[in-house]
């Protein structure tokens, strides 16, 4: 037990620097605050990303946060992070990678001027104000959580803090410091005193205690620091953190700061998604690691929080922060929640709106349950509409299951965010011409949020097994060279990589996919979205098809045809199974032929021997 007041004068500050979005607090610093406070440390959190967002315009800031491409956010703070050693004071990156920059409006020249103004005027002014407006002198430790593009902004502030307050110990952690990335950053960047490698829930409070007590850091697992000019790394903890031991994160200072800055209203409804963590790791990835996925370097073993603790946390956080929206940061929902958590949410008649990442093999009944429980937004790992490409990705689902998920999520009004990926070793042009042909049949279902060549991420099987996948070139993504000084070994620090793949399809093979998905998205922006729905009576259905605007029409099917169509509506099935279910005398081959005729009309999705009706019931909520 911590003696009362023992650490009361040992203040720590946890900082979230740009670039993370403004409409949600950082779960990383919120959780570490609670854990450290429980050991008796006075801890403050500072969402300094909010100040920067207000300074450069919140909408522009959010666009920079959401941009996937060159490290523009990291580049903006590079000069302040590494003054003399910054590699791109002349802003060559803005021309070299001009076609991949975020679209903040205006011409390229206007964008260039805007980014230069942010880098050369806003960033230094922001850091100056930040340094003066917070009682840093009280802090013994300042911790930075860094994920994706948060490194250089954090280094820039840490550098100024170390210069002004040399007594402050700077501690860095987060996904950007995992594995060999942390030690390399510690080796080359002076303003980092200590880095936490891996999960920080246990390590960070132990580090604070060791610093406060003046005991050796060698006994604290999972640290990297410079000792006598060398980087010393202590072995990581042997036991993974169990989530039932983690308390709800403390977001109070986020809300206060966001209100003070006018980002959130002080009263009434607040459009904020509260991050919750109900699981870590990936139960699918532990068995079959998807080839492109770079999450979970060492944290792949799946752990989840007990349902009764999740229920209690949801309730307490709603009452504390007056927001009913939650975003689970889990990589994948625990399947046990389908029987243990969601039914309890239904029974309690709670009015939460919850986001989850899910595996795409959910059934109609499961999606209905999710909708009833308040899971209003999901991100399934769909990634492709080709079963062959999904097999190459090791996704463990077929294209027809992906389509079925899109159908029933649409029916139950669950918003779906999903992506289309291409560029995998072993895929063929046919895999894509087939998808291009089928996409117009799916226009009544939600389109992908993005469609692109796969990004190569550190820790993914494509990276770790690059020989096996016949990668002939694997180098840090091009923009890193405009961010980090020469002394930093980018091979050890980069998370994204450029690559060439032996035998890969050329970009031209995906032109049809780009156009088809663009058309799909465009159709959903119309005032009247595409529709394919059916009304049914015993042995009789009518299907209304207006997937192409202004080209509506109705199919009427009776008797066996109606029965065949309805038998394929709930879930993917096969001709033989339908024949058995309906007790038909028609041979299986004849039924397959009829399914082919439905497919030609775009009314069914056929995937090998599996088949699925594409229309949705016109009558909702069943």
């Amino acid at each position: 037990m911590t003696p009362a007041g023992k650490y009361s004068s040992w203040h720590a500050v946890l900082v979230a620097m740009p670039f993370i979005e403004t409409r949600r607090p950082s779960i990383q610093i919120g959780l570490l605050k609670t854990l450290a406070a429980a050991r008796g440390f006075p801890v403050r959190t500072l969402h300094a990303n909010l100040d920067f967002a207000v300074r450069i315009d919140v909408d522009n800031y959010e666009l920079l946060c959401q941009h996937r491409g060159p490290m523009v956010g990291e580049w903006l703070f590079s000069v302040e992070a590494f003054p003399e050693a910054a590699p791109d004071p002349d802003a060559r990156m803005l021309d070299d990678l001009a076609d991949r920059l975020p679209r903040l409006g205006g011409s390229h020249q206007e964008l260039r001027e805007m980014l230069l103004r942010i880098r050369d005027v806003d960033v230094p002014a922001y850091l100056d104000v930040l340094l003066e407006s917070f009682p840093w002198q009280e802090a013994s430790v300042v911790g930075f959580s860094s994920t994706f593009q948060q490194n250089t902004a954090s280094f820039a502030l840490a550098r100024r803090l170390k210069r002004r307050y040399p007594h402050i110990v700077t501690v860095f952690g987060g996904a950007n410091f995992d594995d060999e990335m942390g030690p390399e950053l510690v080796r080359t960047i002076d303003c980092i005193d200590v880095a936490v490698i891996g999960e920080g829930d246990e390590t960070f409070p132990r580090l604070l205690a060791a610093l406060a007590d003046g005991t050796s850091l060698d006994a604290v697992p999972g640290l990297a620091r410079r000792v006598d000019g060398q980087v010393k790394v202590t072995p990581s903890a042997s036991v993974a953190v169990q989530l039932d031991g983690l308390p709800p994160p403390d977001y109070a200072e986020y809300f206060q700061h966001a209100e003070d800055l006018g980002i959130l209203p002080r009263v009434g409804y607040r459009n904020v998604a509260l991050p919750i963590e109900t699981a870590r790791g990936c139960w699918w990835g532990a068995k079959h690691h998807c080839t492109f996925c770079g999450l979970n370097r060492k944290a792949m073993p799946f752990r989840s929080k007990s349902p009764h603790l999740v229920l209690s946390e949801l309730e307490s956080q709603v009452k504390r922060y007056r927001t009913f929206r939650f975003e689970a940061v889990d990589n994948i929902m625990d399947t046990a929640y389908l029987t243990k958590l969601l039914p309890a949410l239904v029974e309690n008649e709670t009015g939460y709106e919850i986001f989850y990442e899910v595996k795409a093999n959910l059934s109609r009944a499961q999606l209905k349950l999710m909708a009833q429980a308040g899971v209003t937004h999901i991100q399934p790992g769909i990634e492709s509409l080709s079963s062959n490409v999904l097999r190459l990705m090791r996704k463990g689902v077929r294209a027809i299951q992906n389509v079925n998920l899109l159908r029933w999520a649409q029916y139950y009004d669950i918003h779906v965010d999903w992506n289309l990926l291409w560029g995998f070793p072993g895929e063929t042009e046919r895999d894509y011409s087939d998808q291009v042909a089928v996409i117009p049949h799916l226009f009544h279902l939600p389109p992908p949020s993005s469609a692109n060549r796969v990004w190569l991420e550190r820790f993914s099987p494509l990276f770790t097994e690059s020989d096996k996948f016949q990668l002939t070139r694997l180098v840090p993504e091009r923009s890193y060279r405009y961010v980090y000084p020469d002394a930093v070994d980018l091979e050890r620090v980069a998370y994204f990589f450029d690559y060439d793949l032996d035998g890969a399809l050329p970009d031209s093979a995906f032109a049809g996919m780009r156009q088809a998905t663009a058309d799909w998205c465009s159709a959903w922006r119309a005032s009247k979205p595409p529709v394919l729905k059916y009304w049914s009576a015993p042995h009789f259905i009518q299907v209304y098809d207006e997937r192409q605007p202004g080209q509506g029409g109705t199919y009427t099917f009776e008797g066996t045809l109606a029965d065949l169509y309805l038998a394929c509506s709930n879930r993917p099935t096969t001709a033989a199974a339908v024949r058995r279910e309906l007790g038909l005398l028609l041979p299986t081959e004849a039924i397959q032929e009829l399914f082919g005729a439905f497919q030609e009309r775009g009314l069914m999705f056929v995937d090998g021997q599996f088949v699925l009706a594409l229309a949705l019931p016109a009558v909702k909520a069943r």
Binding site: V531, H539, Y544, E546, G550, Q551, G552, G553, T554, Y555, T556, F557, E558, G559, T560, L561, D563, A576, R579, R580, L582, G583, L584, L585, L586, A590, E593, L594, A597, F598, R601
Partner: protein
């Protein structure tokens, strides 16, 4: 026609009797009989009491041929935009307040 349930013994008795016909069947007829049994076996399920169940043929399903159904498919589509749906409630009485 209701589902047809049966026991293992009933099937064994039937098989015994049918086997008596075997000597009168050509090789082709023998193969045909086996194929019919095999096809029928695909439709059998087991109920909670452990009995076999043949599903009852659907009404009308037996008479539909592939050609009939293909013809129905060819004629199934009628172009035209969706008629308005929903209940158009009429306002009864004077709501103008005058």
């Amino acid at each position: 026609m209701a589902n047809l349930t049966f026991t293992l013994k009933e099937i064994e008795d039937l098989a015994h009797k049918v086997s008596a016909l075997d000597q009168f069947l050509s090789k082709k007829e023998h193969e045909l009989l086996l194929a019919i049994f095999a096809s029928a076996a695909e439709q059998v399920t087991r109920n909670k009491a452990g009995r076999g169940v043949f599903p009852a043929p659907q009404q009308g399903a037996g008479s539909a041929t592939l050609e009939d159904l293909q013809q129905q498919l060819l004629k199934a589509y009628i172009p035209g935009n969706e008629p308005p749906h929903g209940i158009n409630a009429k306002i009864i009485g004077d709501v103008s307040g005058s």
